[in-house]
């Protein structure tokens, strides 16, 4: 059997980073499928929630691709995407509590992702931690 390529342990796309990419891919898939369904069936009911669902799916998609790619450019794109995700889940989480009338339909981020076991809240934190750990040019002991 072929041995796995020995990669630089600090590379963003190696080891744990691979796992992160798959988790992001699963979220892209589920958020994407959910928002596609909502757009087809329920757009008139809750345009704001559904637009947010679609945007979150898009951000997960960008993050998945950027996390999977190597290089400094991909690292920056990842940082922006995961940063927006972090801000998004916090803002949507707060507003879904204080203005529930605007969030009739649950999206991935409403109530801090409670419908998804709060993974949407934890995921960007883990993502940011991983990105800073694998920052290009960072010297690790």
């Amino acid at each position: 059997m072929e041995q796995p390529l020995k990669q630089n342990a600090k590379e963003k796309t190696s080891g744990f980073g691979r796992l992160l990419v798959v988790i992001y891919a699963v979220f892209t898939l589920s958020a994407g499928a959910r928002s596609l369904y909502q757009v087809i069936r329920k757009f008139d009911e809750a345009p704001l929630s559904i637009t947010l669902s679609a945007i979150s799916a898009l951000i997960y998609l960008v993050a998945t691709i950027a996390l999977a790619k190597k290089g400094e450019g991909a690292w920056k794109v990842s940082l922006v995407a995961v940063g927006i995700e972090m801000a998004g889940v916090i803002l949507v989480g707060i507003f879904s509590y204080i203005q529930p009338q605007h969030f009739e339909l649950a999206s991935v981020w409403s109530h801090f992702g409670s419908g998804y076991g709060y993974i949407p809240l934890v995921l960007p934190m883990v993502g940011l931690w991983w990105l800073f750990k694998t920052k290009p040019g960072r010297v690790t002991a």
Binding site: M1, E2, P4, R18, L36, Y37, R41
Partner: protein, 123 residues
């Protein structure tokens, strides 16, 4: 029906938990994807194929899901992509992390099949 959930769900729970346990065990041993971890995920995919056929049969014999049929089958199709995806991933990346990726399949499927049960019986 046990605790308000049908046998599809319970079968999924047993198979998924087994698959998760096998994959995590193999991951902790530091094993790359092998017949055990990959096989357990193929079993999950096979289960979903049977579930799809079963759902179509149930659809013709009964009134179908009490929730939206599009949402129900949307979940089912999405669920079918997951083991297929993690299995293909495990073929391309031969590391212990890939074994853990295979292990993710089970828990995700438990959540999705639970939701499908809700859509079929309660919405």
């Amino acid at each position: 029906m046990i605790a308000g959930l049908d046998l599809w769900f319970w079968a999924c729970l047993v198979l998924s938990t087994l698959s998760f346990a096998i994959c995590v065990f193999q991951f902790l041993r530091g094993a790359a994807p092998d017949d055990f971890s990959q096989g357990s995920v193929l079993v999950l995919e096979a289960f979903l194929v049977v579930y799809l056929v079963g759902s179509i049969i149930m659809q013709t014999l009964t009134d179908g899901p009490s929730g939206d049929w599009l949402e129900y089958y949307g979940y089912l199709i999405t669920a079918m992509i997951i083991p297929a995806g993690t299995f293909i991933w495990s073929l391309t990346e031969r590391s212990r992390w890939s074994t853990l990726v295979l292990g993710l399949t089970g828990p995700v499927l438990i959540i999705m099949v639970h939701r499908m049960n809700m859509l079929w019986y309660y919405y």
